[in-house]
Symmetry: C2
Subunit: 293 residues, 2 copies
């Protein structure tokens, strides 16, 4: 007996992707807004009374109206605020537009290149998730539809911050979790550059996180894992792997600390300088696993 | 069409208790270990490959082997380490023994009174959840089977710390979320005493938390909400409402900071002085809601 992933009887069920199929989250579908199959994946947008609009790719919830700000704000401002002057930013993936929406708020950022493999995710988001897709309206954003890994390989020494906003390491995002990709990111960065990559959940995927951590550490002199809370993800927790080309980086201490007024003006719902610091404070069992050889 | 709470087809499904019935978590039951109906509630213990042993009361997961340490360590050491000298501790509820297990590790604690309404929860935990129920083996613990609210009403000025480890505000725990209960806790504390109560999830229950926060604030001079991550709870996040009889309390700054060696000796998997500090750092949307009149 098992639970079926996907849409059944008016409910969407997510079965853990990396962990064994022993835990599921289900959300009631009050309305199917859009459902289609792109060249790369299945796309579903539905409405739930608690989470609001929900975007699902290949049976995994990517973001919901209730809690997307946590992922987007932390994924954008943690790396941006560790960098002394993040002028040029590259976003890999992030087709919903939420990361772009946050990155373009940063006062230092002059230009954003975004490379999303699936044009249809952007189309669907523009149509049904305008609260995120409005990120694409900024004149700072140059949106390309291309393979992120290929783009990174072809551009050397160009960006201050690279954010990989990918789905899980199956399907179209599989290459974005491999050593070769992190090496290409390293070369794509300018000196002192920072990467921030989707880093999975420590509750279910700690061994996987450790393997990623080791890969990044074999290439970047400074590496850390930052945690955030996302209610719609299995376990309610997800993290970011952060790497920096520089040495002796104090990840916990943001170089840009937004004032309360700036936070208000930027409409920040989750991120603050204190949340930045707290994100790098990890439970003892996680610290121990990551620091063990 | 809706999902059914409880045990069906070899799966246990939890339907949000406080939020509308729009989101569920399901765990595969690999083995039913025990299932019975006590005078107060339905008790279920089952085995799941990801979470290990799971304790369920009235269709809500109370704790699982994978992540119970997060709730128990934070619920015990946050209040204990805010108090300068927590000698006498009262635990209301907590029939699994996990909170008692942590409290008796604290070097200052001399005596613990625990008042659990349901003898059968303790019986079941001793039989099937020994990793938590071992808390009851400590000679410091005096375990009573009685109504917690009644006990608190009858004891004035006796305890330094009172921890309410209750289930959700339906069923046997309903009185433990009422103003009269917080007033009784206030009177049960010695001067400078601290309470720590189960405080629900900010993702789903923010309005409820705010109402609790206001109740506690109307009685205690100092109040705060501390957050922890628990993968097996809906949304993956739960908090504690902390109140102190003293004024100008700096909740974030533990008065007792365990060294790494102490943490190891106490077998702490989650809590550290830094996790203590981070627990009081809340997302902006939570801060704003709690601080609004």
């Amino acid at each position: 007996m098992h639970q079926t992933a996907g849409e059944t009887n008016g409910w969407f069920t997510e079965v853990g992707v990396l962990n064994s199929k022993e835990v599921t989250i289900s959300m009631k579908i009050n309305q199917v807004i859009e459902q289609r199959k792109s060249e790369f994946q299945n796309i579903l947008v539905f409405q739930n009374d608690v989470f609001g609009r929900c975007l699902v790719l290949d049976n995994a919830v990517q973001c919901t109206e209730l809690d997307e700000h946590s992922y987007q704000e932390m994924g954008a401002f943690i790396p941006l605020n560790i960098h002394p002057n993040p002028k040029r930013v590259l976003i890999i993936g992030g087709g919903d537009g939420g990361i772009a929406r946050e990155v373009c708020k940063h006062p230092c950022v002059e230009e954003i290149v975004q490379c999303e493999i699936d044009k249809e995710v952007v189309e669907v988001s523009k149509k049904h998730l305008p609260f995120m897709a409005k990120g694409f309206d900024s004149p700072k954003v140059n949106l390309l539809f291309d393979d992120g890994y290929k783009y990174v390989l072809e551009h050397k020494n160009e960006f201050d911050v690279i954010i990989t906003d990918s789905s899980d390491p199956i399907g179209p995002a599989v290459t974005l979790f491999q050593t070769e990709y992190y090496q290409a990111l390293f070369e794509c960065l300018r000196p002192g550059g920072i990467i921030c990559c989707q880093g999975e959940s420590y509750w279910f995927d700690l061994k996987f996180i450790k393997s990623l951590y080791k890969k990044v550490k074999s290439i970047f002199p400074s590496v850390a894992y930052a945690s955030t809370a996302v209610a719609s993800y299995p376990s309610g927790q997800i993290g970011f792997l952060i790497g920096c080309k520089g040495t002796n980086v104090n990840f916990e201490e943001p170089l840009h600390k937004f004032t309360e007024k700036q936070c208000e003006d930027m409409d920040l719902k989750y991120y603050s300088a204190k949340m930045h610091q707290a994100a790098f404070t990890l439970p003892r069992f996680v610290e121990k696993e990551l620091n063990q050889p």
